[in-house]
């Protein structure tokens, strides 16, 4: 087969890169906001969450894509849920085994990956009608786009809310001696909304195509 696409053809590369910017799940499609608010107080849980979602979405997309011809359309949601749930349980067990502290911090939010709209959305929109390899790339791309925002938000929230990055104190002691205080708003969920809002604002003023006509 000569006309077979190479593994990283331009089309496949686009599957990886567009979700990072122009079709970002959080800032453009506004999906997965709930977990973006909940796990971004500190950088470490946000990072672990990102890895977990990448794993679940990439593998899940591939499995659904392999099964796509055998799934009866009527029961496809149930099949998709079974796939996600099994993967999430796997991820949860791995986290508990290797990074127990972070797993405790993330608590129910690992389980709630099941309800993350990005995952169901990609299953429905992409994996059900595409081959396994592009589906895998699409999963990695979308989960990374989600994760990038999570990590940016967590970075600013931890820096401004706790004066630290990845648990290490960044704000020097003399600042506190001069009367500086950590911003409590950043630890509350509205802090995440404000940071996400600012990211959306910056992204849209840099890329005028994204501004809707009205």
């Amino acid at each position: 087969m000569n006309n077979r696409e190479s593994l990283f053809s331009a089309k496949n590369r686009r599957l990886l890169t567009t979700p990072l910017g122009k079709e970002n799940p959080i800032t453009i499609q506004v999906l997965g906001i709930c977990s973006a608010l909940a796990v971004t107080v500190k950088l470490e849980p946000a990072f672990v969450m990102t890895i977990s979602v990448i794993a679940v979405l990439a593998v899940g997309n591939m499995i659904i894509s392999l099964l796509r011809r055998t799934i009866a359309p009527r029961i496809r949601i149930i099949v998709q849920l079974v796939v996600i749930a099994s993967l999430v349980i796997l991820v949860d067990q791995v986290l508990k085994a290797f990074v127990y502290d972070v797993s405790k911090q993330l608590s129910v939010f690992v389980g709630l990956i099941i309800t993350n709209c990005i995952i169901m959305g990609r299953f429905e929109a992409f994996a059900m009608s595409n081959k396994p390899w592009p589906s895998f790339l699409d999963g990695v791309g979308n989960a990374t786009g989600y994760g990038i925002i999570l990590i940016i938000v967590a970075f600013f929230r931890e820096l401004l809310g706790s004066g630290s990055v990845w648990g290490y104190q960044i704000a020097p002691q003399f600042l506190y001696d001069w009367g500086y205080k950590d911003n409590g708003l950043m630890i509350l969920p509205p802090g995440a909304l404000i940071v996400i809002g600012i990211i959306i604002w910056v992204q849209r003023s840099r890329d005028k195509e994204l501004i809707e006509e009205n």
Binding site: K181, G184, L188, G197, I198, W201
Partner: protein
């Protein structure tokens, strides 16, 4: 005056299109229209122009705020020396407060106007006058010993996130001054309310809490109603004297700048619910000191009057229709008392009540307009 006019006319061409400083046009325009009545003419549509433009309207509000500001300065000094057990002259009280309050005002105006000018330059529109009032309101709703950097951060937050993101003056959903206060309230709660706020600098001075703070900790009310009405109590800089606020309200209503409907309905709503709580207090919650409070206390305590007169009436964020204004005002009063009495986490409900109703004002207007259309449609005779 003539000399100044001539000077401005002389340098004006340099700031117009093609001039040497054309990139500073909006900055120049701001100063010119601030000093003189603008000579803009209408290009389209209606050709009748009222010279009372937004800058003039805003100046009236600032004038209405000046008594509370001056009294606030005096009261800061008075409370300070009172807590130290000293008695000094009126002038010394005022001077102490002046030195404390002036830097807050300067920082608020400096940061806020700086950001306004930068945005106006970047976006190429006129400098928004709205900040003339917000810059004065922000210091008045803060406690007098708030650190200056917090004032700067909160002002920047209010102007950028509260206003410029939505498109500047006239487009904002939330009242900018209250946005600044809400930001500080949630970001640095220890510095905004509670018993630490009113500590004077000297070690031997007593720390005091505001009457609202006292009630929250189930201490008996020690201040008299007349003190609260005239304003001899600790509190945020501008909010203590209900009398002077009412004076400002009178000025705003007479000049037509503030809406009497909103002011009256806020007081009515607050009084109504407070009276209801007062009546049922002995039967439902005998140990809730807030609930047992006589209803008129609610109106003179904390920021209720200040919020009703200067914050709720903000023409941008309030409801626009007359019937909408009644609903909006009553709900603010009701929510403020509701939060005070039933939510132990927030001693003062006025700020949250106004911000909440700011969000709902467009919805209220929408239904008032819809209702009116429906009513008038009924008058059309049905064709047989």
């Amino acid at each position: 005056m003539n000399g100044l006019r001539k000077f401005i006319d002389n340098i004006k061409p340099q700031f117009e299109k093609g001039g040497r400083f054309s990139y500073l046009q909006s900055t120049f325009d701001a100063f010119e229209t601030f000093l003189f009545v603008p000579n803009h003419t209408t290009r389209l549509g209606s050709h009748i122009r009222d010279y009372i433009d937004m800058k003039r309207t805003m100046s009236f509000v600032v004038i209405a705020l000046i008594p509370t500001l001056l009294f606030g300065m005096w009261n800061v000094g008075y409370q300070h020396f009172l807590s130290m057990g000293e008695s000094v002259t009126l002038w010394e009280n005022f001077w102490f407060g002046f030195v404390k309050v002036l830097p807050i005002v300067v920082v608020s105006y400096g940061v806020g106007l700086g950001i306004e000018f930068i945005f106006a330059q970047i976006r190429g529109h006129e400098v928004n006058e709205g900040f003339l009032v917000s810059g004065m309101l922000i210091p008045l709703v803060l406690p007098p010993d708030v650190p200056l950097w917090m004032v700067a951060v909160a002002t920047a937050f209010a102007v950028i996130i509260g206003k410029e993101v939505f498109g500047g003056t006239g487009m904002n959903i939330l009242n900018p001054a209250l946005t600044a206060r809400a930001f500080l309230f949630f970001a640095y709660p220890q510095d905004m309310s509670g018993d630490k706020v009113w500590i004077a600098e000297h070690g031997d001075a007593m720390s005091g809490a505001t009457p609202l703070g006292n009630l929250l900790t189930h201490q008996p009310l020690t201040t008299s109603a007349s003190d609260m009405f005239w304003g001899f109590i600790p509190g945020s800089i501008g909010e203590t004297s209900t009398f002077l606020i009412l004076l400002g309200a009178l000025f705003l209503i007479v000049t037509g700048v503030g809406s009497w409907r909103i002011i009256v309905s806020v007081f009515a709503g607050g009084f109504g619910l407070a009276a209801f709580f007062w009546a049922i207090a002995p039967y439902v919650a005998p140990d809730n000191a807030y609930m047992a409070l006589q209803p008129w206390y609610h109106l003179i305590m904390g920021g209720f009057a200040f919020g009703a007169v200067y914050m709720a009436t903000d023409p941008v964020t309030a409801a626009q229709t007359n019937r909408g204004k009644w609903i909006y005002g009553v709900l603010i009063g009701v929510m403020a008392v509701l939060i005070r009495v039933l939510n132990p986490a927030y001693p003062e409900g006025m700020m949250l009540a106004i911000l909440l109703l700011n969000v709902f004002a467009p919805l209220i207007d929408h239904y008032v307009v819809e209702g009116n259309i429906k009513k008038r449609l009924k008058r059309i005779p049905v064709k047989a």
